[in-house]
Assembly symmetry: C2
Homo-oligomer: 241 residues x 2
DNA sequence: CGGGTGGTTGAGCTTTCTCAAATAGAGTGG
DNA sequence: CCACTCTATTTGAGAAAGCTCAACCACCCG
């Protein structure tokens, strides 16, 4: 099931059969995790990167008070911590939000791949800068968008990202999160998330019920969110010079 | 004046004389910019990266209403858009906040450097992931910290980052920003920034006046901000395998 | 001396939070 | 199949943080 990751790579860059094979061969091990498990802790020295094959995870940081901020949601096909390759240890924790299937890619294998296929080095670098682009868009949400627009934007982002791997189609996708998770993603309390969701429903834009997001008016949702997918860099393939 | 950039690199990684020379030789051109100029626009195809030698710049995104969110402050020694090397075009704008001196590094030179010195490839990659780490910490601020704590945290971050290049010493540093700039960095209105600064002053923690930040109680400021410098990865040097 | 920018303060308002309680649903053991 | 429990959702009411609007002040520069 590394296919989803390859779809994600190919959405931005053309890769050769040999490069694809190198990526497939880089996995050393497969693992399963239950929901709500912190699987990578900030500060620990890492020797492999984790590729999410199935399920939802998130990066988060928290304050002493227990207030938690999710800094990015990770979906099937995403590398959870490719940046641990250059960084060696993370500044944040990563946890599962649903049961997850992952593949482990030893840093040594990444090193070898890059040496063998320099283009893959650029592609991996690109993928980590994509995370930064998502962070910037979320900073805009957290700093300037209203509660309802933050949620609308989050749904637009997930819809766009899940379409890449065919996990979203026909204005709808499964999203097995609680309203608390949405709150921690958008910097809002559960109570306020609940009221904003109701408002989005009332306005006929989108419904979020029993793990399913259904977009009733994509244009309206995007307008409310001021969603511009440019930051997801999906208008590739990009050349590598 | 590329020295500041080298100090920043050396704070995390050991580099050889040859590598240092390669970095020095990579500059193709020097430029000056006035304050408040957008020097890199989102979406434009870039063929060089800009190294900030002197002055302050920021990345930002804005909404139709004109509300602007600064996603990162850039100080002397920082690459403004090293990520444009893998990304080709940016998802955000970059503007000067003060008059600035910059050096341009053509992407072709970066490509050559990496080919010649693979370790530099890793170091540059590291630098771009560092920006993402700052973004994540700001997401935590924007989503969960109070106004006063956001400002306190910002001052702590800048103090730590400016110390690397000796631009901050003795609990004090020059910071030629307006309160509006601070507001756009912290997701607060100018009026509220003003009141929070007053509160920080009253509590004897820090003063921000006429372009100068003076920290009166670093321990107290850090406690209020819950500042943990781990995300700046300053406890190097890190090895590269 | 006048205009412009940036800082400061007041007053009222809005969004969002907090606290609290009621409701709904899924899963479990009897 | 039902009572029980646990978690998640929903709603109400009051409080607080932060926003808006507006005015005034200070300083710098020409």
């Amino acid at each position: 099931m590394i296919e989803r990751h390859l779809m994600k790579v190919r959405a931005r860059h053309a890769i050769s059969d040999a490069e694809e094979q190198a990526i497939r061969n880089s996995v050393s091990e497969y693992r399963s995790h239950k929901a709500d498990q912190t699987i990578i802790r900030r500060g620990e020295r890492l020797h492999h990167s984790t590729l999410l094959l199935e399920g939802l995870m998130c990066r988060y940081k928290d304050l002493r008070s227990g207030k938690r901020q999710i800094s990015e949601l990770l979906v099937a096909g995403d590398f959870a911590d490719l940046h641990s390759f250059p960084l060696k240890r993370l500044d944040h924790d990563i946890m599962t939000l649903t049961p997850c299937e992952v593949a482990l890619v030893p840093h040594a294998h990444i090193s070898d791949m890059i040496a063998c296929f320099p283009r893959l080095g650029r592609i991996f670098w690109f993928l980590t800068t994509l995370d930064a682009a998502v962070h910037r868009e979320w900073e805009l949400s957290l700093g300037q968008r209203s509660g309802i627009a933050r949620l609308a934007h989050l749904f637009c982002e997930l819809y766009a990202r899940l379409q890449i791997t065919k996990l979203a189609e026909n204005q709808s996708f499964g999203l097995d999160l609680t309203q608390t998770d949405l709150g921690e993603s958008t910097g809002l309390t559960v109570v306020h998330v609940n009221r904003c969701l109701k408002e989005l429903r009332t306005q006929g834009l989108v419904t979020f019920q029993s793990g399913q997001v259904t977009i009733h008016d994509l244009t309206g949702l995007r307008r409310l969110a001021e969603f511009d997918p440019a930051y997801l860099y999906l208008d590739g393939p990009y050349e590598i010079d």
